[in-house]
Symmetry: C2
């Protein structure tokens, strides 16, 4: 399945005109967050640069795939990651903590509603962007055609992410 997912990711990148080097292609990260149901809850990503000052990634979502709710906490005296999501392809339905949106377009994965609490809806189409402040819970789901999101942010420390679903492990222990 993993190879098939990789092919679909490469096809989405191709449609968006986004070129990766061979090395980047080999380093494409595909994660089901240890939930075992990648097509429903998971994420694919490429990290272009992540240094002590800033980070840039490309997030690729399969059709209707959801990246589960999480937040980026402060670490010691450093504030949590601030991140700007810029939609490059497809449609992204982003939900952040705040006032509840009436009649949201999409729903959390079935049976997982307890782990999806952020309910202010932001719909991003190509060229549109939104900045998520540090410590704010958020989750996002792609529309029918999948989606590609450029993420510009402060330094990324994925291993500290706090997911609402206690079954999630972002980084494998091994």
């Amino acid at each position: 399945m993993s190879e098939s997912v990789k092919n679909r990711v490469m096809s989405l990148l191709d449609k968006a005109g986004i070129v990766l080097t061979e090395k980047e292609t080999s380093q494409l990260e595909i994660t089901d967050l240890s939930l075992g149901d990648l097509e429903v809850e998971g994420l694919q990503l490429i990290t272009y640069i992540n240094n002590e000052d800033y980070c840039a990634k490309e997030l690729i979502l399969l059709s209707n795939q959801t990246c589960p709710e999480h937040l980026h906490p402060s670490i010691g005296s450093q504030p949590g990651k601030k991140e700007t999501f810029r939609c490059r392809f497809g449609t992204v339905y982003l939900y952040v903590e705040g006032e509840q949106t009436e009649n949201p377009v999409v729903s959390p994965p079935k049976g997982k509603e307890d782990f999806y609490t952020a309910n202010t809806e932001i719909v991003l189409k190509p060229g549109e962007q939104y900045t998520i402040q540090p410590g704010v819970k958020h989750w996002f789901q792609a529309g029918d055609n999948g989606a590609i999101v450029s993420e510009f942010s402060t330094t990324s420390r994925d291993e500290f992410d706090i997911f609402t679903d206690p079954n999630i492990k972002r980084v494998e222990d091994n």
Copy 2:
């Protein structure tokens, strides 16, 4: 001429699959750096986000256009801008301070050689990137088909940029 340049920029973005909002399109920055010869020395850019932590831009270069040599100085206790150039479309010939490259592919604009001193060549094709450290002089030129470069960086303060050519004003006085 300006409208024609804008059309060419939009055409390059379109070829690269990069979508801007209407507002961004209206805010496209076209600068000849007060040299009056945009096609030879100049730059077009869109700033997606520039906050106190990070910055992301799209730089668009016309065919064989050169962005003149400059550096990003430290400001008070803050180090100068660190920036990662990622080529999205076309070819970019980037020159940074360091060991002289023998037989570089391109040359500085004719008659302006005195203002181009950085001569370590880095050639970037789509998917390739390079990080320029703070305070390092650099200039870059597009290949025959123009080029698009995504810039990921620390906070941008263009008004402090130091250009080697004393005739350059990055930001108009008015």
